[in-house]
Assembly symmetry: C2
Homo-oligomer: 335 residues x 2
Amino acid sequence: MTLRQEKILKLIVDEYVKSAEPIGSKTLAEILEVSSATIRNDMSELEDLGFIEKTHTSSGRVPSEKGYRYYIETIVKNLDEETNGFIEFEEIFDKDIARDDIIKEAVNLLSEATNCTAISLGPNAYNSKVKKIQLVPISSHQALILVITNFGYVESRQINVSEIIDLEELTKVIDLLNEMLVDTPISKVSEKLHYEIQHSQIKELLKYRETIVDSFIEAFQRFARSRYYLTGSSNMLYQPEFNDIQKLREFLSTIDNNEIFKIVDQDSEGISVKIGSENQITAMSDCTVISSSYNTLDGEKATISLVGPKRMDYRKVIPLMKYIAKHIAKLYEEE
Amino acid sequence: MTLRQEKILKLIVDEYVKSAEPIGSKTLAEILEVSSATIRNDMSELEDLGFIEKTHTSSGRVPSEKGYRYYIETIVKNLDEETNGFIEFEEIFDKDIARDDIIKEAVNLLSEATNCTAISLGPNAYNSKVKKIQLVPISSHQALILVITNFGYVESRQINVSEIIDLEELTKVIDLLNEMLVDTPISKVSEKLHYEIQHSQIKELLKYRETIVDSFIEAFQRFARSRYYLTGSSNMLYQPEFNDIQKLREFLSTIDNNEIFKIVDQDSEGISVKIGSENQITAMSDCTVISSSYNTLDGEKATISLVGPKRMDYRKVIPLMKYIAKHIAKLYEEE
DNA sequence: CTTAGCACTCTACTCTTGACAATGCTAAAA
DNA sequence: TTTTAGCATTGTCAAGAGTAGAGTGCTAAG
């Protein structure tokens, strides 16, 4: 690829990102100050190489997935990280609010700034360890079970204290459970609990108290639930590629159906950019998904993702994702 | 309105709900076994009365909002409540899981069964009273603040325990706060806290500990946050009335923009049915919103809503909403 | 290697046309 | 007085024809 061809490819991506219309040779001729025929020759070669495509025989050119990939690898990845024009974001990370809320706000702002859909996935507390189990009576016949992990996650479950199971007895149960479960990873709790009920002294105490045990198990299971936060799906409505109601349906149904996990690339190190068919899931074959994972304190991974049309402002979006990922990681380091 | 005219109105609604196409006189002539001309005369009168409309001069008829309203008032409201064909729902309410999760599942099923968007709004814990404030150390330099209300709501906030504020001191603060705030309604906490900091002994202790106080206030404020759960928005994509991408955009943007509170009728007693322009918000002027409120233990109100096209299967949906509302109310009574 | 010129292709928009479904109205029948 | 048959009228929808415009590929000359 000649230098001018690379320039042309870059311009086609830039212009197409702006206008969402195929780019003709005339437009580029003006910018590059050569004749349109010259551009056409180069375009023809770029098309042979697979970097650009026509939408029909006599249309202008549009970047192919290979074209976007080249653009990202050669142009965007080498972009200086001097891009600290993200002032709105700085403010968020300096706020003294709960970490989860900071992440939520960052995701909100991300979707606003990019007009794409932004997703925050996890972390769940699967690898956390039980720190404390506690019983809080809240009325004469009701109590609250609290389970707290070593990283400060809390889950609660309200239970009824009937005459059959009185508070005193319950307290004993809690004491036993604490003894048994403290420092157990959440992922192992269920297993351990079932084992102990079969084999140890607690057996007697819990044998006819299945509801209580179930309540506990439910509380524990909630930690393992994958939590996600998704925002800005309505942004996509205004992207011209979603003028087709069929595509819109496909996209929104996918989002609504808890298929987020298939969309987000949870396994990547650093930034992952999946363009169109590079995505596992066919519903995303017209989209680009940019994911960035970070590690939390408990060895659990969490991910921030951005989903939008392939025609995305990569020069802005990729540095922004890097920036946010870096700051979220810092959020965890600090403590 | 003659008996036959009422029959015609009813048939138009029924047929239109099924087909989403304007109903012509010929169709009804076959069903009612009179000539199409007769039907046309009656239709013309029904149109003069405002119960039905034409989409253009030579089209069939479509129910007007007034028509739907009449249909609901005279036909659906008098429907026997014998409709216990909601077996799938019964199972949910019998499950022994947390109340919030039952409601969530019911809402999920509701949206599935009706192909509409279902919303559960609230309850928040604004009227609950502080039951207990607690400090749980989770590492040498971190602790968890827990705030628990008399109805079993829990909020937590993680804080750093630096050298300056040690654990002992913190414990004292917690003790004081407990003394001060237990039995205070959540809605009054902020006020009381600020007052006490100015006037009582705690002043000295907290003066230079603003971050801690802020953490508390944040934890308390979370109780007051309105929580909602919305599901099935992608169902709407397949309703023919949303084939128009403009309407789809309007609808989905409204949902995405936290305007739920404007959609849901939170003030109604019993079931509220708002058809089209009866809704406050213009984005819903092509939709029907059915809301049903219930009281929680703390005197707070919460609402379940269903949003769909005006062309809704009212005969099925309204009894279903009644059924669900009744069972959720029961969920609160039981305790 | 670049450029001018030209024939060619495809889209997008507009206009027309015909089939069809419903209507309103009138006059006759019940 | 109510119901019905008959018919002209009105509007939608889909298919087809025609036109303007943007862009391309190719060839031959600079």
